[in-house]
Subunit: 365 residues, 2 copies
DNA sequence: CTGAAAGCGCTAACAA
DNA sequence: TTGTTAGCGCTTTCAG
């Protein structure tokens, strides 16, 4: 490959510093985009390294002439700043850790997507971490995260180990917890109340004249809380209540359509007369729909079904699925803003946000 | 908290500066897990920093006694190594960038999941990047990625801009492309042939006695190639071929169930006699199933349907969906191994891997 | 097996 | 506005 950028150098006319004077011992193996550093750029532009740095980071603080020279030099060398070095020197890594139980399954997709996008637009890069719903990996993961000195950590539906929480807190890294309304957040919080959801759904179904309620959900903690609140409220309203817990295959997997089918079968065996069912995910609800269909059970006629998550496909099902909608985009944006603001040194006036939820009423209930 | 180290600096007291108050100016605002550095640990353990470093990184290279002392010191101080600093010094960031069009949608979930998990187990952290199917963001994203000097980049279904490819190549960072079999990969490759899939599905349906083929797919490039190959092979086998292209709402979004419903409707209007349909995603196929059901079209009796992706739910649909399965886990593991091996300085014997695919035959076709 | 010295590439403090 | 100096926290190199 011919690289014709050897001695032409038509730009740096004033300071011929070709003198390889007392070359200090250089370290080996560089992976550095051609080995070009800020110093090379500065030299080519005929300015001090710090000036080149300013031209790139705070262009307003530099004369237009210098700015242009530096830009040219960057262009000609193909220089890409080493953000690791910059981060070390400035103590700002521009890295944000996002931790979820798993990226498999539709639940946290919207949040991860929004965070990645919003933070990227602000110059941050997202590091992804998966805990797998277990505590065991939390500690190792935390160590790996803190070691990178991120400018923020977003926790979604996890981090229960008390020790881990303490560790994070004492690291001084801004933390945003999401997907729940913890009574005692580590730092900042963007969430919603699982209990309120359960209660509201119970009231909604009761209001529709249903009297024999049932719930179907996985055994993750938040799902359980929705289910419990639903059951309690339904009972308080005078409804009968049955429930089935979906067996989670592997503690890190989300609920599945198959579990929905099986779940309804189990439920019907337990209590054939149920007329209202709250599923802790839309996938479960879809399974229930299919199973009901194959059994000739009419939805919503015989059985009203409410899902959770309002997945993209739910509006197009037959019948169209009524579901609880969580605005993952809003959560992601708010969380991103919290971290960006913190990094900018702003005071967060209200570090706890309840984004709420809504019941999207369609045909299935 | 008695810290018996009142400015005596027991370790480096060999240069008595004339002025006693020689304390060097310290930089401000540290976010450093309590501000504990390797030097603090080393001092507490009574060894040199480099020895403490060795105790942590290559425990076999220090005496058991020293190892214990350092471990104790780490324990007592709560020290967490600064991986940014380590990365800068050693030129190994232990960061791997994973780039996908979007994490929304089920397509790349398995790969991202596997990569994150496998790499984490090897001490690497995944940085997530989303291009949004557009080229526009590719350049900025690439700059952000290269700037972090990752030890590897995994590209999934993207990076078309020639300039971007060149940039990556010249950065010297190991690159693994996935989800396709490019004729001229940048570096390493783990993929499968979209053309072969199209052809095989056509043959399969022809073998089942179907003669009026149709395809339904999104307009992303690979989907198109599957569809085209399918159409060509079907025609070559003497089948009639119709096709419909799903309108993508926003170029970055994956195909949806709703599009499947609409797609079938359009297709039937075009050609009511089709008896075999290849959908470029399982979600599309599900939509087709539902639409067919509501129109009283029997599957597979009247219409055979084949999906793509073999999503988790496909096996539980009614009828159970026949689909093309891609082993995302295998792709992720292979890609991770490539990068880990490269980082270890190993020669990659065969840098191009075809993981193939399989047609999972169920009831729908 | 252990240590001193010298940076990795960049930016915060000061100064000019 | 620009430059000088001194690190950021760690690891490489080269000696003991």
């Amino acid at each position: 490959m011919s690289q014709p950028q050897d001695s032409s150098d038509s730009l740096r006319a004033d300071k011929p510093a070709d003198e390889p004077s007392d070359e200090p011992r250089r370290r080996s193996g560089r992976k550095n985009a051609g080995g070009i550093t800020l110093r090379d750029v500065a030299q080519l532009a005929g300015v001090a390294p710090i000036t080149a740095s300013r031209a790139l980071n705070t262009p307003a603080a530099v004369s237009p002439k210098v700015l242009q020279k530096v830009k040219d030099a960057v262009e000609r060398t193909g220089y890409v700043p080493n953000l690791l070095a910059g981060g070390l020197a400035s103590n700002k890594s521009r890295l944000v850790a996002v931790v979820v139980p798993t990226v498999i399954g539709p639940v946290f997709q919207e949040i991860v997507h929004t965070l990645t996008e919003t933070l990227a637009a602000a110059g941050y890069q997202v590091m992804l971490g998966q805990t797998g719903y277990e505590n065991s990996r939390e500690d190792a993961l935390l160590e790996a995260i803190i070691g990178r000195r991120p400018d923020g950590v977003v926790l979604t539906g996890i981090m229960r180990s008390q020790q881990a929480r303490k560790r994070l807190l004492s690291s001084g890294i801004p933390v945003v917890e999401t997907w729940d309304l913890t009574p005692t957040p580590i730092d900042m919080l963007v969430g919603f109340s699982h209990e309120n959801i359960g209660r509201e759904v119970a009231r909604y179904l009761h209001g529709k004249g249903r009297r024999a309620a049932a719930v179907l959900g996985g055994k993750d903690e938040r799902s359980q809380r929705r289910m419990l609140a639903f059951a309690q409220e339904a009972a308080a309203l005078g409804m009968t209540v049955d429930g089935a817990q979906v067996p989670m295959h592997g503690v890190s997997a989300p609920t599945t359509l198959g579990q929905g089918r099986k779940g309804l079968a189990d439920l019907l065996q337990q209590q054939p007369n149920i007329d209202a069912l709250f599923c802790s995910s839309d996938l479960l609800a879809l399974g229930v729909t299919i199973e009901a269909q194959s059994r000739g059970i009419g939805i919503p006629g015989q059985l009203a079904v409410v899902g959770f998550g309002d997945l993209e496909f739910s509006r197009d099902l037959e019948p169209r699925l009524t579901s609880v909608r969580i605005d993952g985009t809003a959560i992601g944006q708010r969380a991103a803003r919290f971290i960006i603001d913190r990094a900018a040194g702003l005071e967060i006036a209200e570090p706890i946000v309840d984004v709420g939820f809504s019941i999207v009423v369609r045909d299935s209930a």
